[in-house]
């Protein structure tokens, strides 16, 4: 099956700076792909190359199997985009703004009503965009991206500027989008918690390089499980847990025991608790900790250490 979006060693240099460095990413059909990275990591440059807005220095990008550089128009027909800069004409109403794009795309007039309905903006469509809140502009931008029901949606920071209710609405909307419309969604965001709740797949870009990519559930499953514990005596607990095959680290808020990938935390927690209690160590709290996307992101985008990290395997 053809991936909805695929890049091969996609590279873009600005002078001597490699903004995007040999990025090979694959967004499966009907996935919600969270594209993560700090400001300046290369997210927007990558998205712009996918949309044909800037040319890659080398490598290729394909939308629904169509090479963007060779057939920009063909690829563009399969993409709807919500970009950080909305580009709405403030002197026109929301409906008029959508109608301009609809005209350029050669779509029937009913298409504007359809997308307004989808983003629940019909009641405000006759107001000028200058009177819109940022959240309303964001939804209008989403409506515009969906004109013509393109199979691929590229959304740059879609939750930017939304209030908590707006973020929740957007989250629900984006999560259900592939099932409702069959579209594949590629979205970039800073909000790791949001991406974690929406995305089926993630890609993490750091300093222009794609450092991690895959199905989110699988990435989490493949990671070593962690057990968080709070005890009265960290030194004694460390000594007691020495025979267990785990990496221990401690911080102000307690200790973290990292198991080997594939180990079952449900089996390890009772054994550890028993050993600690028998040794007279007071266990205040202990339990398996779900690996968060934030943790995955921090690990993947952490700068390479000068000396190897020193987890204490006991």
């Amino acid at each position: 099956m053809t991936a909805a979006i695929e890049t091969e060693a996609l590279t873009r240099c600005f002078g001597r700076h490699r903004a995007v460095d040999a990025v090979s990413m694959t967004v499966p059909d009907r996935a919600v792909y969270g594209f993560l990275g700090r400001n300046g990591a290369g997210k927007t440059t990558t998205l712009k190359m996918l949309l044909g807005l800037i040319r890659p220095t080398s490598g290729s990008a394909r939308i629904a199997g169509i090479d963007v550089a060779r057939d920009r128009l063909g690829a563009a027909r399969r993409v709807g985009a919500l970009l950080e800069a909305h580009g709405f004409y403030a002197n026109l109403t929301g409906r008029q703004n959508l109608d301009l794009t609809r005209t350029l795309l050669g779509l029937p007039a009913t298409e504007v009503d359809r997308v307004l309905e989808v983003v629940e903006m019909s009641p405000n469509a006759r107001r000028r965009v200058s009177d819109y809140s940022l959240g309303m502009r964001q939804r209008l931008g989403l409506a515009r991206a969906m004109l013509g029901a393109p199979p691929v949606l590229i959304l740059d920071e879609p939750t930017n500027g939304l209030d908590p209710d707006g973020i929740a609405d957007m989250r629900r909307f984006l999560r259900d989008l592939p099932a409702r419309t069959g579209a594949t969604v590629l979205l970039s965001s800073h909000l790791l918690g949001e991406i974690e709740q929406i995305a089926t797949h993630v890609g993490i870009i750091h300093d222009g390089r794609l450092v991690l990519e895959g199905e989110l559930a699988r990435i989490k499953a493949d990671l070593a499980p962690e057990i968080a514990l709070r005890v009265d005596d960290v030194a004694r607990a460390t000594a007691v847990l020495k025979p267990f095959d785990l990496a221990l680290s401690s911080a102000d808020n307690g200790m973290t025991a990292r198991l080997r990938p594939g180990d079952d935390p449900d089996a390890a927690v009772p054994a550890m608790t028993r050993a600690l209690v028998e040794a007279g160590v007071a266990v205040v709290a202990i339990g398996a900790r779900a690996r968060s996307l934030e943790g995955i992101y921090r690990e993947a985008s952490a700068p390479a250490p000068v000396t190897p990290s020193q987890p204490e395997f006991v």
């Binding site: 807005l53 909305h86 004409y89 002197n91 026109l92 795309l105």
Partner: protein, 242 residues
């Protein structure tokens, strides 16, 4: 292309560009009205109409083109809509060509409005002071032809101003260029070198004593103007907007 053109026209709805298109010719008409009202004896139609074309050609036209192209370009630069427009599945040159056509059409309408409003101002003034009714024939065909030549000679200036306004997101380069061009157009109106100066080419259409100047300015302004406009559209469509 018609779809892109219709979109460009609809964007002007309630915009400052429309206000400008009405204001600039109106100012010439208002000036003509009060100028006629302060007169003591009637003047020929030709004097009023040609002086109106002259004011348009050497000052108001370059200023209007500067402002109009800056406003039309800023409609996209302001809300940063280039990325949206350029990501759409349509050849990019059409976006820029449509802008060029709309600007030329608005300038043509402003030129016609200058003639029409001047006539209206004179008619209104002579209704109030019938003794100042212009003398001689009202040779509409002659004034329309002259204004038409002024418009054609202005195409090179429009192309340069439009390219500058679209190329730079800041409106400062386009304004500096336009104000500078207009300045030299005003202070050196009769300079022979003006025939090669884009901002002065339109006013050369009014110099009937030296046919070569009018013909050269018209040929360069229109012929070279269309070539430069085509090159500007091609360049803008090809360049990356970062």
């Amino acid at each position: 292309m018609l779809a892109v053109l219709s979109v460009e026209i609809r964007k002007l709805n309630r915009s400052l560009a429309v206000l400008l298109a009405v204001a600039a010719p109106s100012l010439i008409a208002v000036f003509t009205f009060f100028n006629l009202m302060r007169g003591k004896a009637p003047q020929p139609w030709e004097m009023w109409m040609v002086s109106s074309i002259g004011i348009w050609a050497f000052f108001m036209l370059p200023m209007s083109v500067t402002a109009l192209t800056a406003l039309v370009a800023h409609m996209e630069h302001g809300p940063k809509s280039w990325d949206h427009l350029r990501s759409l599945p349509l050849p990019r040159w059409r976006l820029y060509a449509a802008k060029a056509m709309v600007v030329l059409a608005v300038v043509a309408m402003m030129s016609a409005a200058t003639l029409g409003l001047t006539w209206g101002a004179i008619t209104l003034a002579t209704t109030l002071k019938p003794n100042l009714t212009p003398t001689g024939p009202l040779d509409i065909a002659l004034y329309a032809t002259t204004m038409g030549k002024v418009f054609l000679a202005a195409i090179l200036m429009v192309a340069i101003q439009l390219w500058t306004a679209l190329r730079f997101a800041s409106f400062v380069p386009a304004l500096v260029l336009g104000i500078g061009g207009t300045f030299f157009s005003v202070v050196a109106t009769s300079a022979k070198a003006g025939v090669f100066f884009p901002w002065q080419m339109p006013v050369n259409m009014l110099i009937s004593s030296q046919a070569w100047r009018a013909n050269t300015a018209l040929g360069l302004g229109c012929g070279l103007g269309l070539v430069v406009m085509a090159l500007a559209v091609a360049h803008l469509a090809r360049r990356e907007v970062l």
